[in-house]
Symmetry: C2
Subunit: 138 residues, 2 copies
DNA sequence: CCGTATCCCTTATGATACTG
DNA sequence: CAGTATCATAAGGGATACGG
């Protein structure tokens, strides 16, 4: 395999690539939320629903099962009435917290810049459609 | 605002929350790929298409515009024929490289564990449907 | 070469109602 | 309480063809 240039991320393009898998998992709209909410400790289903309050039970279940399948959290059923099910991060899941935190911190440090950029972009967009075409590039 | 418990990630649930924005951006199937591919230096549209070879021009354009809008990369049009357009990470975009790298490294270290967990889970699944219902919980 | 325009399909997500 | 089932909608992504 080629070892220079962009090759070291070459396998990122492979659908089976580790990074792709992880980015797919954290790319999930709810997965990262759940993981970060569970950082504090185990929660039961209803507690998760309240915390991540916009999610429907169906979607929440899907996310939880996916995360459980990947070994990132455990699902513990207590044999009692009313039923109680706890979700808790596994050690593996906990190790994801750190990179996720790095991302959160990046986010908090740079959102303002991103938002400013968006405003600029959108303004230029708006101006562009008012201007006649055939205009010299930027 | 409450300062204990899960409150510090409380705003993670807010759709306007910085983290949500960032996770939405990197959650994009192609955005992180593009960013990481551009880590090496500027590339033109066709080069990006070749590198991220499965993506259609439409989708690639969408991703690039979104990233440009967020100030993560620049789009430079050269006034020549045939046309040439270069895409390059901005300093802001470059700062994303590090947290992304952390995630990649996590991925590479832990995929095997995740895959193993999946196999386990799926096996148990298969076994469960063969077993009669009303079985004592795990 | 660098896109845009269309059409189409799969998947994700949501609302709602119901069961163990 | 903790889900499952069903239906409906929308968003994402892809194939293809064409324009500047």
């Amino acid at each position: 395999m080629d070892t220079k240039g962009a090759s070291f991320i070459g396998n990122v393009m492979d659908p089976d690539c580790p990074s792709r898998m992880v980015f797919a998992r954290i790319g999930d709209k709810w997965a990262t939320l759940v993981i970060q909410v569970l950082a504090e400790g185990p929660l039961r289903f209803s507690e998760l629903r309240q915390t991540v309050h916009v999610v429907t039970p169906k979607v929440l279940t899907q996310v939880l099962r996916a995360l459980e399948r990947d070994g990132l959290l455990t699902r513990t059923v207590f044999a009692q009435v009313p039923p109680r099910v706890d979700y808790e991060l596994t050690p593996l899941g906990r190790t994801l917290l750190e990179p996720l935190k790095a991302l959160r911190e990046w986010a908090e440090s740079n959102v303002s810049a991103m938002l400013a950029s968006r405003d600029d972009y959108d303004e230029r967009e708006d101006a562009a459609i008012l201007r006649p075409p055939g205009h010299p590039g930027r």
